[in-house]
Structures are given as C-alpha cells and as structure tokens.
C-alpha cells in the first residue's frame, strides 16, 4: 500500500516536471520574441545613438559587423540560437562580452538577493510566530510594523536611512560597494563569501559581510513583510484553530504542535509566496543596488535599456526572465513536495 502511494507521488512529480519543462520552452520563445520585438520597435539606431557625433559611413560598417543589417527574422534566429549557445555578443557601450559582464554582475545580485531572502524569511517567520505565541501587543505591533515597513516604505528611502545610521552615525558599515579596495579582491566564482572562504582569508570574509550588511538588511524587509503577512493571514483562519484544538486534544506539547505540524502546514504557503515574489525582489534589488552603489544586474540592465545597449538588453533580460521562472517553478515543486495536498488539477481526480 505504501509503495503504491510513493509510486503515485513519483508519477505526479514526473508529470509536474514535464509540465514545467514545456512551460519553460514556451516562456523562452514568448519572452525572446517579446524582447526582440520591443528592442527593434524602439526608434533609432543603437550604434549611432551611442555617439556624440556619428559618421554615417562608419555607423553602417559597425552595423554590418554586428549583423544588424540582416533581415529581422535572421536576426531573431541568430539571437535565440546564440543565446542557447551562450554566445551573447559584446556590449555596444563597453565593448566587453556580455557574458563576461554578466559573469561580473550576476553573482553580485544573486549573493545580495539570496542572503536578503534568507534573512527575510527568518525575520518574517520570527515576527509572525512571536506575535502568535506571546499574545502581547508589543509583538503583534512588531509584526504589523514589519509588514508596513517592508511593503510600503520605498527602498531608496529605507536604504538612505540605513546608510545614515549604520555608516555615518555608527561608522560600523561602509555606505556602499561590494568590497574594500585596499585589500586584494578574492577571485574565483564571483560570490565573494564563497571566494574569500576558498582563499581562507577571514579578513576578506569580514569585509565582504560588512559590505553586505546594510543592503541585505534593507532588501530583506520586503520578503520579511510578505512572509509575515501570509502567516498572519493563515493564523487568523478559523480552520487552523480547529486543527490546533484537535492537536492539543491529542495531548501534544505546544512547541511540537507549532514547530512540526503547523510550520510544515504553512511551509508550502511561505515557499510559494517567496518564490512567486522573487521577481519583485530582483526589482527591489535595482533600487537597493543604486543606493548602495552595488555593482549588480539590476542597475546594469536598467542602464543598458537607457543606453540602448542592444545585446545586453536582449540576453540579460532573457536570462533574468528564465531565472525568475526557474525559481518560481522550484518554489512550486518544493511546495508540492512539502505538502501533498497542493496538487495540479489534472491530478486531483485520482
């Protein structure tokens, strides 16, 4: 009996995976087509717009060199095939390959976003559970305050506040940047925590965390507020109270009830809300990056759009979209695995 149940779950997982795979292809084609169309609909030629005093002949030669004089359908085909092959062309502005540049900026954003997410979930869980546990007004207000802070206060304002307090008043943290240029910069993956650990340099690690502290705290408030909000909504659900009463009637200890049964039940909701909002987190990262002089993808892409940096926009945006989709899908799968009642409709009949 148990074997068939596991088998059933395994089959459901396979169907889920296949579904996600097909969706990934669909997202790839639709997103690439939309990006390509948008890039080409914008009036003006990115090559001559880069120049203060363009020379038409030279502009035509550069366009030919870049393949921009070919028919659009060929260009689109070239775009998607070279994207898949990882050959993303050069930035029109800096002349560096887009791959190298993304290799430089992407780890910065991911390091920031993942740490912020991690801290945010912990903060959100902590606030929501404290409010529920210690029924006092103080904790309840803390949770409410966190929600208000994370969802309504603009990040640039918050970031500025953090700088004034953490950097200017206390002097504990630098106001921005990723690293201190008086130390040699750890080389390798581009994830500075990992690289400084790999180099075995604790001083580098300390500097890395010092630089991460303010932007991570600033960016973590948004996921913290989300998690806290979702949990509080669940806590006020009458069905949860029925369940609580039932569990208590079974004679389970309070901590066991909360940390094992309820957390597991709510885990799926938390994972889903965090996963589906990862895109918004990256959106917030743009502002965070700007305030904290953080050399990340958000700022890079926004500048590329403003500068009409063709290949950066085409490949960088597509990469981010696919990544967001992958993260949302992973969150879905995790939610699916953590709570078997989250099922796809096609599956619900059995």
């Amino acid at each position: 009996m148990i074997a068939t149940k596991q088998e059933h779950k395994f089959n459901a997982l396979l169907i889920e995976l296949a579904h996600k795979g097909v969706m990934l292809l669909l997202v790839f084609f639709i997103a690439s087509a939309v990006i390509f169309t948008a890039v080409n609909l914008v009036p003006g030629d990115p090559v001559s717009l880069r120049l203060k005093n363009p020379d038409p002949e030279r502009v035509a030669a550069i366009r030919a060199e870049l393949g921009l004089d070919e028919p659009l359908i060929n260009q689109y085909f070239h775009y998607i095939t070279s994207f898949v092959r990882g050959n993303w062309g050069d930035s029109l502005i800096t002349g560096q390959t887009v791959r190298e540049e993304i290799g430089e900026y992407f780890p910065a954003t991911l390091e920031l976003a993942l740490l912020a997410l991690f801290l945010g979930v912990i903060l959100g869980l902590g606030a929501a559970f404290s409010a529920q546990w210690f029924k006092s007004g103080l904790w309840r207000n803390t949770a409410l305050g966190l929600g208000a802070l994370g969802l309504t206060v603009p990040i640039f304002w918050l970031g500025f506040l953090f700088i004034v307090v953490g950097s200017l008043w206390l002097g504990w943290f630098p106001s921005g940047g990723r690293f201190d240029f008086t130390l040699p910069i750890p080389q390798g993956s581009g994830f500075l925590i990992f690289d400084s650990l790999a180099a075995g340099r604790l001083d580098m690690l300390r500097v890395t965390f010092q630089h991460l502290a303010l932007p991570v705290c600033c960016l973590s408030l948004y996921p913290a507020a989300l998690v806290c909000g979702v949990l509080q909504a669940r806590f006020s659900d009458p069905r949860l109270h029925t369940l609580l009463r039932a569990l208590r009637a079974k004679g389970l200890s309070e901590s066991r009830i909360w940390l094992i049964h309820i957390l597991r039940l709510l885990g799926a909701a938390v994972i889903t809300v965090v996963g589906t909002n990862f895109g918004a987190l990256l959106g917030g990262a743009v502002l965070t990056e700007s305030v904290f002089s953080w050399p990340g993808m958000g700022r890079y892409l926004v500048e590329a759009v403003l500068n009409r940096d063709l290949f950066v926009v085409e490949n960088g945006l597509l990469l981010i979209i696919l990544l967001a989709y992958l993260i949302i899908s992973t969150a879905d799968l995790l939610a699916f695995l953590s709570n078997p009642t989250v099922r796809r409709h096609s599956d619900s009949a059995s």
Partner: protein, 524 residues
C-alpha cells in the same frame, strides 16, 4: 526622490558629520567619486566624461592645454613647428619618456596612436570602434610618418587652424603599441600610457584603481594610489565626502551644494564650462521658420531666470552659441538677444496662426552637463512663452529617444546642448550650422539649418591660419546666426568639483578634463 533624500539628509546630518579622519597625515590613496563609471578606456573610441577623466591620469598627448587655459603647450613633444602653408606639422619628441610597460617613447612608438586611427587596414583599427573624433577633428590629416628617430610629421590635405588644439584632446593621447601586441583588443580595458598614474584594476560600476607611475618623466604624482569610485546616488556620494571616505567628487546638482558653502572642510571649484545649452527651432516646423517669430520667441525667454531658478546661479546666460572668451566672440557690448516680453508679444500678436495649436517643446529626463535639470528649464520656458500668449506643450522623453527625434529634426522646439572638445569655435559653429552636419539620423545641426554663405564662412574659418582673420570670419558667421536664429543659446553651465580643503594643486580645465597628477595634500 532626490528632494526627499536631500531633506532627510538635512535632518540627519545635524549630528552626523563629526567623524572624519583628522590624523593630519597625507593619505596613501586619493579617492575621487563620480556618478557613473567609465565606458571604455581607449582614447580613440570614447566620448563620455568619465572615460576621458580616467584616461587623463594615465595618458598624455604630444601637446596639451596649459593648465586652466586654452593655450597650447608642448608636452610629450618638446617642440613643434608649423610650415608656412599650414600643411605640415612637425613634432620633436621628448627624450627619456617611457610608457608604463617600459616601451620607450620615440617616433615609431608614437606613430601607433595615429596610424591606427588613420589607416583603416591597421590591425588596431578595431571593426567595432567608431573613431568618431578622427572623422570630425582630424579629417584633414592625410599622412603621419617618422622623419627622424624622435621626429614625427603630420601632412594635411588642406590647412586646418584647429588641428593643433585637436592634438591636445584625448583622441590624440598616446598609448603603447607593445600593449596592443601583447593584449590585443583588450587594451580598450587596460590602457597603457605615459601619465603620472598607471592602470592597475577595473571593477566595473565600482572603482578603477591606479597607482603612482614611479618612472614618470614629469613631477611625481602626489599619492601612492588613485581610486576613481562610482557612487550613483548623489546624496550618498556627498555623505561619503563628509565622512572623509572620499576626497573629491563631481556630478552634484547646484541645489545640493548649498550646505557646503560655509563648511571650511570643503572647497567648491566651479567655473563656466566649455559648453552651451540651447533651444533649437526645426527648419521643418514651417510656422516657426520666420526669423521675426524666432526673434520674438527669443525675446520672450528670461534666460537670467533660468540661471537663477534652474541652476541656482551655477551658470551664465549664453549670449552666443560659443562659450565666452572663444575666438569669434564680438567685442561690442550689444548682446544679440535681449529679454523683452512686451516687444515679443507685439510681434507674436501679428501671427494669430501660431495660436491654433500649442507649440511642441521637446525635452528629456536625465541630466546632462549642459542641462542639469532639463525638465525644469522646459517648464520655465513654457511659462515665459505663455506670458506672451503662446501655448506650449512639453514633450518629455528619455535622452536617447529625444536624440532620435532631434537628429531627424522631428520637433518644433527642442532643448539640447554641446560640450566642446578642442576649444575652437569651429567645434561649435560647424556642429550647429554647417549643412554637412544636417544629415538625418546623425545630425548635430538639429535645426537642419542650411545656408551657403554660412557654409563658406565655416570652411574659410577652418582653413585660415591668421588669428585676426579667423576672428573676423567667425564674427561674420555669428552675424548670420543672429539674423536667421536657427537656435537660441540659453546657458553655459559651470563645471563643479568639490574637494576636501586639504587637497592642493587641483585646477579646473576649460576642457572639463580632470587632472589629478599635480594634486597633493596639505593638512589644515
């Protein structure tokens, strides 16, 4: 957003600005911060200030502008001679100069910089590089060759009086040929010149790190290291200066400087830049083609108010479409445009067709050196024009989209500007008024103004070598401009750099280049 942040900074700064490193010692590292990063570090293929100002520490030219002036001074060349017919320029190179990679400076190594721009088959004539300045400023150079071990000679196809000035600008700064041989196209990110600082590392969007060139032929640089940081947010950049973590910055808006005025810890360096912000009439806008109407519109605009309200006084009214003090500026004190709304109203009342629909004034969002706040300037102009009974619709776009419309002449009125390159009037007047600069999609003459007499004067001015003759020629060109008024010059903005007061030896340049080589430190 910046207003809110600035307000917050006022509140929080009161108690916050005491902690500064006051040990009195000269720091090892001089840190300069700006709002954006350099784009490329290839002198032949850049036009943004951040790239130029980075290279200004690393590379040098045969000649340069004497600090703070537009006078030419021999630099990597010990001396130069110009032939009588103005067609041959000969430079005698300085002995004992080495590039940062050890390559000695001689005729052969100096040629590389020019040959790669001149010769389209040269291996360092990169296919994706624009070489736009070579086409604009150096177009008369026909050949360049070594005539001795330390002598190079430029032959011109026809005389061009501004070529010597152009040779002082960044596209003509020398880079090492050996660097190209060993790094190939990567030299656009690892410049190797002869300057007081040498390139060490570049962390994009964070910092460019330079160190002292121990073998520098001139006076030794003041610091062991020079770091040029990118801090995009203006308020954060200012906070870093106050916290003593950076020693100098640029890119602040005039309004943001107010709190620094009475602070003895900081020195504000400001001087009118070599730029002009203007409003153009498109020649394609038929109802604004009459010079009388254009003059009336010009008279309606209160440019002094723009200086005071949009730039907090950090600019001067532009009387002519060339910066003040330029060759060609007339001596007489009668300005060609005066503010007289009553006279303007009288003229405009005779043209009721102008009122049928609002006049489109095109502007853009992001600040440029010549217009730190283009939206505010546009709304001040709208007020002035509404004051003379015209209706104005402001059309705002991002800068690049604005540029697309401007380079097609696709507007009625448009705000734009120009930052000068070589200090020569040709660089402004031919840019604005030459018919050959009115090519759709690449026009710098966005008015699409075409006038044979103007063209002839511009060609003559370029070919004349006698300075008095050129003065007359450009004066005549300005008379034609003032008659037809294809554009109204509005302001010359000031370049603003703030340094800590301990910083010595810093001087603003007319070209807006920042040179940190002579900068030192003197405790207060």
């Amino acid at each position: 957003m910046s207003v809110i942040i600035a307000a917050a900074s006022q509140i929080f700064m009161l108690t916050g600005c005491s902690r500064i490193d006051e040990s009195g010692k000269t720091p090892d590292t001089f840190v300069f911060a700006r709002g954006s990063d350099a784009q490329k570090l290839d002198p032949a293929d850049i036009d943004d200030g951040e790239s130029v100002n980075t290279l200004a520490q690393i590379c040098e030219g045969l000649v340069r502008f004497k600090s703070g002036t537009l006078d030419i001074q021999p630099w990597l060349a010990r001396s130069y001679t110009i032939s009588k017919d103005g067609l041959t320029y000969t430079f005698e190179l300085r002995e004992g100069v080495r590039f940062h990679d050890g390559t000695p400076l001689n005729a052969e190594t100096a040629l590389f910089t020019f040959e790669r721009q001149l010769d389209t088959t040269h291996p360092a004539h990169f296919l994706k590089a624009s070489f736009q300045y070579w086409k604009n400023l150096f177009q008369e150079i026909k050949t360049v060759r070594a005539t001795g071990p330390m002598t190079i000679e430029f032959k011109l196809s026809e005389p061009n009086a501004s070529i010597l000035y152009s040779l002082a600008t960044f596209p003509a700064w020398l880079i090492s040929p050996l660097a190209f041989e060993s790094h190939g196209e990567a030299i656009v990110r690892r410049p190797i010149g002869t300057g007081p600082y040498r390139f060490v590392d570049w962390k994009p969007n964070q910092a460019i790190i330079l160190e002292k060139n121990q073998d520098y032929w001139g006076s030794e640089a003041g610091f062991e290291r020079l770091v040029m940081r990118t801090i995009p947010d203006n308020t954060v950049r200012l906070l870093e200066l106050k916290a003593g973590k950076i020693h100098a910055l640029d890119g602040l808006q005039p309004a943001e400087l107010a709190e620094l005025f009475d602070n003895k810890q900081f020195t504000i360096h400001a001087q009118p830049g070599m730029n002009v912000g203007y409003m153009a009439f498109s020649n394609y806008a038929a109802r604004l083609r009459s010079p009388a109407i254009r003059h009336a519109i010009a008279m309606a605009i209160d440019r002094k108010a723009i200086v005071d309200l949009a730039l907090d006084g950090f600019a001067i009214v532009a009387e002519y479409p060339i910066p003040p003090g330029f060759l060609g500026e007339p001596d007489n004190s009668q300005p060609p445009i005066v503010h007289d709304p009553d006279a303007a109203r009288k003229i405009l009342n005779e043209h009721p067709d102008l009122l049928k629909r609002p006049i489109e004034l095109h502007t853009f969002t992001a600040p440029r050196p010549y217009f730190p706040d283009p939206l505010k300037i546009a709304s001040l102009i709208r007020n002035d024009l509404e004051n003379v009974n015209l209706k104005v619709e402001i059309i705002t776009r991002d800068f690049k989209s604005h540029l697309v419309a401007a380079r097609r002449g696709n507007f009625e009125l448009a705000l734009l500007g120009w930052s000068g390159d070589n200090g020569d009037p040709d660089n402004f007047l031919a840019t604005f008024f030459a018919s050959w600069a009115a090519v759709e999609d690449s026009a710098t003459n966005i008015s699409f103004y075409k006038n044979k007499a103007m063209d002839n004067l511009l060609i003559a001015g370029r070919q004349q070598t006698d300075i008095n003759q050129r003065q007359k020629t450009y004066e005549q060109a300005l008379v034609i401009w003032a008659r037809d008024l294809p554009l109204i010059p509005l302001i010359h903005t000031e370049q603003i750099v703030v340094t800590r007061s301990e910083v010595t030896g810093f001087q603003l340049q007319r070209t807006a280049n920042l040179f940190f080589g002579p900068v030192g430190w003197q405790s207060l």
